[in-house]
Symmetry: C2
Subunit: 334 residues, 2 copies
């Protein structure tokens, strides 16, 4: 049985092994991903992002538990910027294990930051595909911070949760602005803390600024436009980002949050947006594949010494990087 087959058959150890292969970008990992591709496209991918101090990890655990109680198999992919020497990823897993350990319907994977630009987003996409093929119906992708890479990773998801908390630092405001645009659901966690009202007001006014609300009926973020009189059911049209208050430490607000997540999935399916997002994601993956293949072929066609020579000339400012590429492409025959 191949590694891919073992994963499809539900073997947990094979799953763990394959995830490591995919993270390390081995040939074996690539082959298994190929074999599994036809089995992907079933899972609901949920991105969870937000600034430090918002209690993201606890909330992700609670969301996972809630979906488990609904009978769903849940995978958590935690993007952890901790470096190897602090063991941050390992510690994170251990803390989570207390709540979710021993449950075969849950699988948690922490991923450390990668050296190369885009490397993390790519490895994450691979890991998510493996979980998808392995039959995890809910995949939670948790990122720390609000940088470009978090936005890129959020783009993987069907539904993106942005977590806020009352009373965080002074330039949080600036960060919110950039991240608001990717939020399908806004969560104010630690909602038992002082300042929750003003946080909610601030978020609401930012949302209003971004998306003026038409006169329509809202239910858990799903915006319904009541059709002509006698219409059988209201139709979903636009998604108006809802704001959900939660207290992850005691589970307050979780049922409402889960309903919103499910309403968003429903909205995506009915509006056709699910397929649009799916397509955009696959297109990005396809583009990356093209790029990698072309670069590899080019590298193989140019001797290392010639590349070194060019770099030397670039460093001495005799030739610009673009000119150097021109020269190499002419000579390479690729």
């Amino acid at each position: 049985m191949t590694l891919a087959q073992s994963v499809l058959s539900g073997d947990r150890l094979s799953l763990a092994r394959l995830l490591t292969h995919v993270e390390n970008e081995t040939i074996e990992g690539q082959q298994a991903l190929e074999a599994l591709f036809a089995h992907t496209g079933q899972a609901h991918l949920i991105g969870v992002t937000g600034a430090p101090g918002t209690g993201k990890s606890s909330l992700v655990n609670q969301v996972a538990l809630s979906f488990r109680n609904l009978g769903k198999r849940v995978a958590i992919v935690a993007i952890d910027p901790s470096s190897p020497f602090t063991g941050g990823a390992v510690l994170g897993d251990r803390v989570r294990m207390r709540d979710l350990s021993g449950d075969p319907g849950v699988f948690i994977r922490s991923m450390a930051s990668r050296g190369s630009l885009g490397g993390l987003a790519q490895a994450t996409a691979g890991v998510v595909q493996v979980f998808d093929a392995a039959g995890f119906e809910i995949i939670l992708i948790e990122t720390v911070g609000a940088g470009q890479s978090e936005v890129d990773i959020a783009r993987l998801a069907h539904t993106t949760l942005v977590i806020e908390a009352p009373g965080l630092g002074d330039d949080i405001q600036a960060i919110k602005a950039g991240i608001l645009e990717i939020a399908d659901i806004l969560v104010i966690n630690k909602a038992d803390r002082p300042g929750v009202e003003s946080t909610e007001r601030a978020l609401k006014s930012m949302l209003d600024l971004a998306h003026p609300v038409p006169k329509i009926f809202q239910h858990h973020g799903q915006t319904m436009l009541v059709d002509a009189p006698g219409a059988s059911a209201p139709k979903p049209l636009l998604w108006m980002t809802p704001i959900q208050r939660t207290v992850a430490t005691d589970g307050t607000g979780l049922p409402g949050l889960i309903e919103s997540i499910q309403a968003h999935a429903e909205h995506l399916r009915q509006s056709g947006e699910w397929l649009t997002r799916e397509r955009a994601r696959l297109e990005a993956e396809f583009d990356l594949s093209i790029q990698q293949r072309l670069v590899a072929r080019f590298r193989a066609s140019v001797p290392e010494s010639r590349l070194d020579e060019m770099l030397e000339s670039i460093q001495n400012r005799k030739i610009s990087p673009r000119e150097a590429v021109n020269v190499l492409l002419k000579g390479s025959g690729v």
Copy 2:
């Protein structure tokens, strides 16, 4: 006179125009960058990063003022994740203007987050090159957050400052770990706040864990190993990340911070590390150029309809992205 020539002659308006071209990746911007390349490589690039709430922007302003007082021309590139609709970038500039306005030796440029992966890092590299060619001796690159993109942008710099502050949120600790590795100088800003001792202790122990300190003499972070008796001067060997306390709002600690920055530049030059970093940066730029050129050539060789067909098959899980690339490369003749 070409745009590049106007910029070299010191015309501020042309500089502003060229920066916009470079940010928008226009042909005119590309051509000017080509023309300016030979004039780059002079500036000291200083990356400044850290979590929200650390007072980064005020500190960057103070560092800029300090270098102005030393007679240096200073550019600030502020990477701002704010979205267009909040006008965060504009506001940021206006606040800064109070301190630095009217000084022709200072130029501030805010850059908004970009849509594409790596887009921001690339645009930032271009903007930095323009400032370098235009004769700005100190270029401060300020990023918000601690994501992968911040790390990528920090890699542009010769010297990276990581800003902390006492008493920030609970998962700050995890972020620190990842970002510590890129820090050449650690700054505890808002050092007049309670908790500064424990923040410094925590940072010190993390540094010790990462880099055990050999028995050597330290001066402003520059580690000297005192040679055999009678040696004329101690030689720089390793850089031991120093921790500097500052209070940006009143300038406390700034002289020490500036000395450390200068000591780091000196260390880089004497150890040969300056050239190594320069080379790594140019190599990355070169790689990106190759990649973009190859992809553009490939795209031009494949009809749009053929690409759409392939994407359709990928979406239907009939073919994987990698297989699709194989098929296209065989047929493309590229």
